[in-house]
Symmetry: C2
DNA sequence: TTGAAAGCGTTACCAG
DNA sequence: CTGGTAACGCTTTCAA
């Protein structure tokens, strides 16, 4: 593998000079610059980012922690994060956790050892103190698409789950539904918990309590993927959506709008959130501190055809 | 940030000793080991992977190049790659290309500069010589879910697109279809081209030629996502699938089996391919060479409800 | 305008 | 068993 010294030798200059040429920094005589550039071309030299990182004490990489990329919402978020990071010259290290606390620990340790300059988290197990340990190590952290424990140093690009659940229940209630149930994912994720809270709050406000899934005429799912699964299950069981049961999702993944699905859901802009997360992180790194900034967006309910009047 | 020397000073030993303790290698007296471990615990010391990489001349990271993670098939592949890599202690750097040649170049350059130990590619623009340039730089490359230019050094975990298209066309032909069309994605990807070839071959074998999309009674899509889009478009246009038009996909993404979709498609196991790709890559790195190995799987046609008898 | 040297945090070799 | 020293490949003073 070609290194700086080889290029230098070839060009008959010192490595400092080669370095200067590459950085485009210090004034270098036109003639020498030419010689060096020629040597670089001839050898196909590419700077070793690892050596640079060691010297610069910054890896120019950011960590992306995601529960599960097979959720299209998370995939879109990751895509946005990676693209935005790349635009800034940062590489993205992805890691899945399935919201398993032990994996979360292992992963954050690995990211720390690799000295990522920041981490973006798309989902976390309830009660995880992983962000705090990252923060304590001086790594800026921003939560994307959810909020979190109220450490001041944290950044977050969040959406209002409580309001979202209120609008979902409101819509269903107006359609005459009184028997609600909430279905969350298999693992305990923070956003799931918050949506459940919002759901229960909205119910209580109307003097209702959650019923068993089998009794419900309105099923509120934690996200679109789960809603889709529920529709599948309900319809395979011989009942119809929305005639017998109404179902709502959350996220508005691309497929939700499909003519065969037409899912009533809450629209959340994963791409925007991913980009915004990187913006915040970049700004924080420039300032050499933590993000310490939260913003929260209110998402609109998108009414489609999986919700309808409550059966008599 | 705590370093080895700080730990050493604290424990009153040399950094070599601390290093030895960490490596668990050279025999270290029980007493000193204890002291060192205590110092490590007290300082919360974590080795700097960047320094290690520089020294070891291996980054313990692999690059994952993917056209677009929002395709669930690619997402599943990436998940599998990342998980398998993590199991081996490797981090995964993901990069999207959208199959844009200029981004591909930029990305492979970035991965090379970061000295990834290998790269897994999930999709590539037609005619790209990016794998070759990586290979020439001594980086093992394996293509996952497609084949590629026939460089001997390449690895690939491929599926038989020609056979897949033959079975798709065979199925449709048996249902009475004679007017076929093929729809690929917006960008020119290698697997897309190959499937198109397989499709045309299968048609020719039956003495048929492709017709305009508007005339077709059988639409063969390059992948499930496109098939889903087509169904959406067709049904919004007032025609029915499969009564008026039959549609097939490729990949068998989770949603393909949904009760509202029931897509006839070719099943390809993204998770398996991702894992296998990492296996091959690990083996190659151990041997210090290129993968230079290809395997190709024949995928089954999964007949569901988006294909039916050709309209009279 | 150029180059020598120090140092980033490790590991590995070799003396002691 | 332990520690000194020399790399790994780069950037950055600081002199010349």
């Amino acid at each position: 593998m070609t290194t700086l010294v080889e290029v230098a030798r070839r060009a008959g200059v010192s490595k400092s000079t080669v370095s200067n040429v590459i950085q485009g920094s210090a004034a270098v005589a036109e003639a020498t610059r030419k010689r060096v550039e020629k040597a670089i071309r001839e050898t196909g030299y590419r700077p070793n980012a690892i050596a640079r990182s060691l010297r610069a004490r910054t890896s120019h990489s950011i960590g992306m922690i995601v529960p599960d990329l097979s959720n299209p919402f998370h995939a879109a978020l990751s895509v946005a994060v990676e693209r935005a990071a790349k635009r800034h010259g940062y590489a993205t290290l992805v890691a899945h956790t399935d919201c398993a606390p032990d994996i979360e620990i292992e992963v954050s340790r690995a990211l720390f050892e690799r000295r990522v300059d920041a981490v973006v988290i798309a989902g976390l197990s309830t009660g995880s103190d992983m962000p705090v340990s990252l923060l304590d190590n001086g790594i800026p952290v921003v939560l994307a698409s959810f909020g979190g424990p109220s450490d001041q140093r944290l950044g977050s690009v969040d959406h209002d789950d409580i309001a979202a659940m209120e609008s979902v229940v409101d819509h269903l209630f107006a359609l005459g539904h009184r028997k609600f149930t909430f279905v969350s994912q298999s693992y305990a994720e923070q956003s799931g918990e918050r949506r459940r809270q919002g759901f229960e709050l909205a119910l209580k406000r109307r003097g209702l309590v959650e019923v068993q899934r089998a009794q419900a005429t309105a099923v509120v799912a934690h996200n679109d993927l789960i809603a889709l699964d529920l529709i599948d299950e309900i319809e395979r069981g011989g009942r119809m959506v929305p005639q017998d049961v109404s179902v709502t999702g959350h996220d508005d993944i691309p497929l939700a709008a499909h003519s065969r699905i037409r899912l009533t859901t809450v629209r959340s802009d994963a791409t925007f959130m991913g980009e915004r997360a990187i913006e915040l992180v970049m700004r924080a790194m420039q300032a050499g501190g933590h993000v310490a900034h939260r913003e929260i967006y209110t998402n609109p309910l998108v009414v489609r055809h999986t919700t309808g009047a409550a059966p008599q």
